[in-house]
């Protein structure tokens, strides 16, 4: 592009566009053109005009504005990038977003009970999630498309025995027979897969189950049209995008890099509150099948967890709690928090193995 001898003032603008692209912003040539035209339209009276035009036309998300600012300074003022640009990796953004909220909630509980902080100290550790094949996963992948819970879409499709009369088709066939309606064509609502939100407890007490939960989560994201997966520990992390890689080993590597609080302390209540506090995440739960995989061993006060469960049960289509402890048929929830939250939980069932989790999720549609 440079060889075309562009006017010199254009250089920093093109530089900004290519910098943005190199740093993972999706920038189309069309946007670059619009940016240059826009600057021309604005005058520009100064650098703030150029900056505003850049933010508006490159459609910079709010979380990535600091990153954009740094690149803008580099392109127009020749200032060096900060040592580590905030949120440099694309996938990190969600986690940053979420953990910001989570830490806010954490600070609050810390004031409630100073001893709690020591007990549930953030033992941040990265454990590699190396996976092995399991027959249960293969079965799930095969059966999921047909058996995952569904909801009615507002779209209609022609059907022999539909609930409503398809006026358009009926009229068309009536025209052919000179205005006489010989047969009523019918239509029914299409069915869409209901969103499934999987919240996985990755705290120390769930240590032995984390690997298989992650493998299942990967299978779910791959098989389902609409699935969202989060991990709950000392913070909340959205791992859906990491799991969207088809190769399981690579996906789990990405998850391991993303989740910093595996085997750490448990603050389920705070993590659920953080989930509700981000409107976009809470929106995922609306009308969704919400499945929590956790032993419910809440070490903090029980109120935040009970309150969060209460609120989630009102947003979600169903709220299911799968715990490995329920593998024992005589199981009754022991912890205060889980016992108090029980009235708002649709069913408390076995979550001890991939098979148990998979079969529970596949029967959700039937038990309604």
């Amino acid at each position: 592009m440079r060889s075309l001898a562009l006017p010199r003032p254009l250089e920093p603008m093109l530089e900004l566009a290519s910098l943005l692209r190199r740093h993972g912003f999706p920038v189309s040539p069309d946007q670059t053109m619009a940016f240059i035209e826009g600057i021309g339209l604005l005058g520009p009276r100064g650098l703030p005009d150029v900056y505003r035009a850049g933010r508006a036309i490159f459609a910079i998300r709010r979380e990535r504005v600091p990153e954009f600012d740094a690149l803008f300074r580099l392109a127009f003022l020749g200032m060096a990038l900060p040592a580590e640009p905030p949120g440099a990796k694309h996938e990190d953004v969600e986690a940053h977003d979420a953990s910001g909220t989570a830490s806010q909630v954490e600070a609050e509980t810390a004031t409630l009970d100073p001893g709690l902080l020591a007990a549930a100290s953030e033992r941040l550790s990265r454990r590699s999630l190396v996976s092995r094949d399991a027959a249960a996963l293969a079965t799930f992948a095969r059966e999921a498309p047909a058996r995952l819970p569904r909801r009615k879409s507002y779209r209609w499709t022609a059907a022999r025995r539909g609930a409503a009369v398809d006026l358009r088709r009926t009229l068309r066939s009536a025209v052919r027979s000179g205005g006489d309606v010989l047969a009523l064509r019918r239509a029914r609502r299409k069915l869409r897969q209901r969103r499934i939100v999987l919240l996985i407890d990755v705290s120390g007490s769930m240590k032995e189950r984390t690997d298989q939960s992650m493998q299942f989560a990967h299978a779910l994201v791959q098989a389902g049209e609409r699935a969202e997966v989060f991990t709950l520990g000392t913070r909340l992390t959205r791992i859906t995008s990491a799991l969207s890689v088809a190769n399981r080993d690579r996906a789990l590597e990405r998850v391991a890099a993303l989740v910093a609080d595996i085997d750490g302390g448990t603050r389920i209540g705070d993590a659920l509150q953080a989930f509700l506090a981000v409107p976009r995440f809470a929106g995922f739960a609306r009308g969704a099948a919400l499945v929590v995989v956790s032993d419910g061993l809440e070490r903090g006060p029980s109120e935040p967890m009970v309150d969060a469960v209460k609120r989630l049960s009102r947003i979600a289509w169903r709220l299911e709690w799968l715990t490995p402890l329920a593998a024992d048929p005589g199981y009754r929830p022991q912890t205060k928090a889980l016992a108090a939250a029980l009235p708002w939980i649709g069913s408390l069932a076995d979550g001890g193995s991939i098979e148990a989790i998979a079969s529970h999720i596949l029967t959700l549609a039937r038990t309604r």
Binding site: E37, R52, A53, A56, I57, V105, Y154, G179, V181, R192
Partner: protein, 293 residues
């Protein structure tokens, strides 16, 4: 892409900002710049922000400034062609067939076509502003369709042919960001994130919009709302709630309630969730504006 530096007599972001003020909408410089660029470059304007920050109001004010009729398409889950584009009036078509008897009848004449927002905006692009509200509620299929619509501004009706806009209409999209929009759609738009206004601006908005609120009341309410928004509430109060709270408290005060009492009794217009009330109740006294007058 049609580039016009002056639209309806507006030649710069500053002019647009002034014009919006006269339409009772106080916009920041960032919003004015984004809106001006969208108009000048002939691109759709995408406004994102928390519920209640005035995204829809911005679009309506823009319509007022440009002297265009705002055609609003409210999105919802499962929105379909019949509610977004057009629908045939089947009952009238059927009657027409019956009445015509042996005579030929044009079933697909304009009289039988019921316009929906997208078609209406397309047929009258110079006099309308198309507001596509809460696009995040619609599903992905509709978003993909919209992408196509926004790039070539045509609608094809199988029975009659293609309707094409003579010029690209002014389009404003809003989103509450309950889900991420498709990247391709964002790229096609000029984007602006509307934040809650800073206290001075919000107080000015209260003074502009509310009827009989004293400046001191406005300041006090804005400060209290700022504190409420910092709390982890299910429904943080938007700008409309701020205005209503100021008005309600002023009304109660004029009927003899003391200021803190008036604010406390009127809290129902600011917080509209039972859990939020319970959550905030123990600390309410500290959050409420004290002596406002």
């Amino acid at each position: 892409m049609a580039v016009r530096s002056t639209i309806a007599g507006i030649g710069s972001p500053q002019k647009l900002q002034e014009a919006l003020v006269s339409a009772q909408y106080l916009a920041g410089e960032d919003l004015a710049t984004a809106a001006y660029l969208a108009l000048a470059l002939g691109k759709p304007l995408l406004l994102e922000g928390a519920p209640g920050v005035g995204k829809t109001e911005a679009a309506k004010a823009l319509g007022g400034v440009l002297g265009r009729q705002v055609i609003r398409l409210q999105c919802f889950e499962g929105i379909d062609a019949a509610s977004a584009l057009y629908e045939w009036n089947y009952a009238r078509q059927m009657l027409a067939i019956r009445q015509a008897g042996a005579d030929p009848v044009d079933l697909y004449a304009d009289a039988f076509l019921m316009e929906r927002p997208l078609l209406a905006a397309l047929r009258n692009p110079s006099l309308s502003l198309l507001l596509i509200d809460e696009i995040d509620r619609a599903d992905h299929e509709f978003e993909a369709f919209l992408l196509e619509f926004l790039s070539d501004f045509t609608i094809s009706i199988p029975e009659t042919g293609t309707v094409r806009a003579t010029q690209p209409p002014v389009v404003v999209l809003t989103s509450n960001r309950t889900r991420d929009l498709h990247e391709a759609l964002r790229r096609r738009c000029v984007y602006h994130w509307i934040d809650y206004p800073d206290p001075a601006l919000e107080a000015a908005i209260v003074m502009t919009r509310a009827s009989a609120v004293a400046q001191s009341t406005a300041n006090a309410v804005v400060a209290a709302v700022g504190l409420l928004r910092a709390e982890p509430l299910a429904k943080p109060p938007g700008i409309a709630e701020t205005i209503e709270w100021a008005e309600a408290a002023t009304l109660l005060n004029s009927q003899g309630a003391s200021w803190p009492q008036a604010f406390r009794r009127a809290i129902g217009v600011a917080l509209k969730d039972h859990d939020d009330h319970i959550f905030i109740a123990p600390r309410l006294a500290a959050l409420l504006p004290g002596e406002a007058a």
